[in-house]
């Protein structure tokens, strides 16, 4: 896998193509025709050509097309290739939830999926949910309720919670739903069970539940 190495003048996303130089590998642009193609890189891996593939997806509303080593996870592409570091790497084994992103409307662990498997997918990361000037309601609620301490799990918690509330709306039951048929009420028990794939080592759980409940409109 290509190690992360900053380009000489530092990385900056421009409206046009961005070339990421990596020592020992030639770099060429493959797409530059549309304004919405933000970062396009081709890593020539001449020594082992079949072990890389081309993939294009919509990330936070913009189209990206890139050649990737088959082995690279979606998480590592987000962080190391596209430098969207809001999505965190915790355990890298699908156990902590820090890398949770929303793909095709569903929350998944970005560490347990290959980038190359996301051809044509629409992906939303924490950067695509809100901005400092225009927070997503759940981001605002996490701030209001102090739903974190160190903040490392927070992007994953928020992405997970956004998609979890959609699952609730869609009528997906949970392990703690007493009635499988009826739509689950938004209770603390439901929120805790449905968020169990997101670990907070600081233990901010009660405040996280408060933040989510405020947005979900449920009862304590």
């Amino acid at each position: 896998m290509n190690p992360r190495k900053p380009s000489e003048d530092g990385f900056r996303l421009s409206r046009r193509q961005v070339l990421i130089g990596t020592a020992g590998s030639a770099v060429t642009a493959v797409f530059a025709k549309a304004d919405d193609v933000q970062a396009v890189t081709r890593m020539e891996t001449a020594a082992d050509p079949p072990s890389s593939s081309h993939v294009a997806f919509i990330l936070n509303g913009r189209r990206y097309a890139l050649d990737v080593d088959n082995r690279i996870t979606l998480l590592d592409v987000l962080r190391e290739r596209l430098h969207l570091t809001g999505t965190k790497k915790g355990c890298d084994h699908g156990q902590c939830g820090a890398c949770t992103v929303i793909v095709e409307g569903r929350r998944i662990n970005a560490c347990l999926t290959l980038a190359v498997m996301h051809e044509g997918d629409s992906i939303t990361t924490i950067e695509g949910l809100g901005t400092p000037d225009n927070l997503h309601p759940l981001q605002a609620a996490f701030i209001k309720h102090d739903g974190y301490q160190c903040g490392y799990c927070t992007p994953g918690q928020i992405c997970s919670a956004v998609a979890m509330l959609e699952e609730l709306k869609a009528g997906v039951p949970s392990h703690v739903s007493s009635d499988l048929i009826a739509t689950s009420a938004v209770t603390d028990a439901e929120i805790r069970e449905r968020m169990s794939g997101n670990i907070c080592r600081c233990g901010a759980y009660s405040n996280i539940v408060d933040a989510i409940r405020e947005i979900a409109g449920g009862q304590a």
Binding site: M117, P173, H175, I181, M195
Partner: protein
Amino acid sequence: MKSFTYERVTSAQKAVNAAASTPGARFIAGGTNLLDLMKLEIETPQHLIDVNGLEFDKITMTEDGGLRIGALVRNTDLAAAPQVRRDYAVLSRALLAGASGQLRNKATTAGNLLQRTRCAYFYDTNQPCNKRRPGAGCAAIGGASRQHAIVGGSNACIASHPSDMAVAMRALGAMVETLHSNGQVRTIPLNDLYRAPGDTPHIENTLDTAELITAVILPKPVGGKHIYYKVRDRASYAFALVSVAAIVQPDQTGQVALGGVAYKPWRSEEAEVYLPDGANAITMHLLADAHPTAQNAFKIKLAERAIGLALSNASS
């Protein structure tokens, strides 16, 4: 992670043909277990065949009133499907008791069946493991074996199968439908999908490398009370120490399968005759051949009590 080549396939026949013609090929769907093992280089496929584009993502009725669950139906969708919640509630319950919301969104029906054990010695490449490296020995036997199998194991391996979904499917009498590169379609009882570890614990199922699971077939609904009771170390997001899938009729007859105790969901149709006699009677027959370690002998009593609770919930 070892390097590999990758292809997306657009038909099941292309998938099995690729598997037949490419050395070291593996199918990948959700990938949540395979990729995890590839990172640790426990799995080292040379070629990945991405089957996510195949149209096995539907749940349909069979001619005799049963259910045909496409191999690619995600665990979340299967658990939430109205006909599953209504007629096969034990399956919904089992799925919802497993993994996390994120993993259930990715994990597929076939992948869930074929997921590998979470034995800590299988995962720790510094430890001997016959499943990972045939002939290396088993560190679990004589090691920390609290989570491990108590029945069906061998002197080579006492790993347990981690699935909850498979336990419910076994109680429901599920069949697994496959396609082989030679064009053969076969339907295998779920019980016959899994191979006992014996001297070859690295061979876990009866599928050929050029064979792809295309669907799981459930017989028509049998009614009754559906219970899935899972005992684990955390309230959520943990593998079972013992789990019970039970379908109980008003006359106390029914089906019972155990999870967390063997290399496969553990059910015995002969033992089920004793179901009306209560938890102790059926457990004695179901686990008559149990050979636990000192650390997991508690699972026999735990299984009896879990079955007892399931039966009492079913009659309340």
